[in-house]
Symmetry: C2
């Protein structure tokens, strides 16, 4: 007969084994926030195929480049890009420095704080705000301003810092790829200098692996003879659409093996990725989860949008070419990291 | 009495020990082609100081960025930059494609092969040759052409491929820095796409770590719908002088900890490096070895030159700021790798 003590010991051992199995499973699954769908399976199979040197699909480590759009692919882009909020939030400080702007449009409208009126500003007016808040200061001053904003600003819907709104499943993909020898890059229509400020902390991506819309800088000396760079309102790279492969060539100089996007602005990057020899993986994130995030397309009958448009034409191109389309609703077990 | 056999065994052991000691010394000295001068010592001490985490001078691995000019710093630049030779060598093929150029200057003069007349072409005429041979083709076509040339062209003085004329002591510095967690970058006034073709094979530097003078590209599709990039004659970055820190910001986004150059075109890069907080190392290569390589300045009374000018003013700035100046004659045990 088994003693009570021995029985307890057996139960305790059994519980420990169960914990160990669960922990091992958690450890062995790098994509824990993904449901076990064909999408997840296809990503894992591609990584296995390109990192197994016994297979003809093997890709040598130095060629393992993976590029990721940011807005709508790595973090929330609705109702409006976070960087645009930053620019609008900077207007009061800008007007304090240059009081004459107070009576000048579009600054006058922005100072009213009337969201509806601000949303209706024409693009050309908005561009004036971007130019005024993203250039004309030193690179270091800009970085300090963005750091301050990123640390304090909150998204009004989730009441969480914007950097909390990075998609947990995508952060897992980034880590998974890096663990398999891939070099992960952000290739964003957003400002290169803006994204570099937090990309390391949020995504584990260092400044030199952020490609984005970039303006020129100019080198000069301060009164003590110390050199510094000033951000100029001169566009060097518009890192959207055809600008994405052009930016990839400029900064990386190799075609990616893997590319992730979510909108028509990423189409050319995905096509350029596929144009390379050997195995390639192109993936699009479809925002079909109005409850947990947002729903927009207009692909697949989703509501149309001006921010992160994903047309049916792009969806059809993805299907024809065998690109993966992630359904946020079905493929992702959770959207954000818990608070 | 020791037997003859035992004696032989002792001698053999002694010889093996001597070999082992010599091999260990070779292994333990990563800068074997350097003489044991203060310059070598200063480089080693800086690397030790920035990689020892018990010291206040420690630099975390992710911040360890080292930038190197190429022409005159990593390989021979006299009597003229290798890339210019490439462009001149391309003229016959260019004229074969576009026969009307045969009667047009400066192509007409270049086709004569008269070195003196070619050397006297004004810079504005030379720029036409650079534009015609460095743009107007696809990125892949350009790469294939450069690969072909690099594999066959030879420097007339040494009768060796240009890539053999990389400085062995500098290749050792690159390897030594990488072994100590530094990410090594080329920051060159030469063409970014040109240098990327051979930088990995010659210096162990991948394409994404080559910053250079860069033109725009344009994305389009061939008749089968396959996308490709065309090199456009539009300058995005002139990576000389102030363009070097501007290019470093554009592509790397961090200030280097270490920078190597050899001419006034590198001055701003070195100043920008020094402007960062914490330990910084700036180094200039002085070409004072007419016998083993070339001698030019005009710093320190060396002959003046239009290619790779190192002024006395720059030399004085280096002395004032505590930058290292490498004397090729005194600091380098050898210049090139043996054939």
């Amino acid at each position: 007969m088994v003693s009570r003590r021995a029985l307890l010991r057996q139960i305790a051992t059994g519980v420990l084994v169960l914990f160990a199995v669960a922990a091992a499973r958690a450890q062995s699954d790098p994509l824990l926030s993904w449901n076990d769908t064909v999408t997840k399976q296809a990503i894992v199979e591609f990584v296995q195929a390109t990192t197994d040197n016994t297979k003809p699909t093997f890709v040598p480590p130095e060629a393992r480049i993976a590029t990721f759009d940011q807005d709508g692919t790595l973090w929330v882009e609705h109702p409006i890009y976070s960087q645009v909020i930053y620019c609008l939030d900077r207007v009061p400080a800008l007007v304090a420095e240059k009081p004459m702007l107070k009576e000048v449009e579009p600054f006058k409208t922005i100072l009213t704080g009337d969201r509806e009126k601000i949303a209706n500003l024409p693009l050309s007016e908005l561009e004036k705000v971007l130019a005024a808040t993203l250039s004309g200061m030193s690179v270091d001053e800009f970085k300090a301003e963005v750091q301050k904003w990123i640390a304090s600003a909150k998204d009004p819907r989730w009441k969480r810092p914007y950097t909390d709104l990075a998609y947990q499943p995508m952060k897992e993909v980034l880590g998974y790829l890096r663990d398999n020898g891939y070099k992960t890059y952000i290739v964003t229509g957003g400002g290169q200098d803006f994204v570099r400020v937090y990309a390391e902390a949020v995504y584990g991506i260092p400044p030199e692996q952020v490609v984005g819309t970039a303006g020129g800088t100019s080198f000069s000396y301060d009164k003590d003879g110390k050199p510094f760079l000033t951000k100029e309102p001169k566009l060097l790279l518009n890192d959207n659409n055809a600008g994405k492969p052009e930016g990839i060539h400029l900064v990386i100089g190799r075609q990616p093996i893997i590319a992730f996007g979510n909108s028509t602005g990423d189409k050319e990057m995905l096509e350029y990725t596929e144009a390379g020899d050997g195995p390639r993986l192109s993936v699009l994130v479809l925002h079909d989860d109005a409850e947990r995030e947002y729903a927009y397309g207009p692909a697949q009958g989703l509501p149309d949008t001006k921010v992160g448009t994903f047309t049916q034409e792009l969806y059809d191109e993805a299907m024809t070419n065998g690109w993966l389309v992630i359904s946020m609703k079905n493929d992702w077990r959770k959207i954000f990291q818990e608070q």
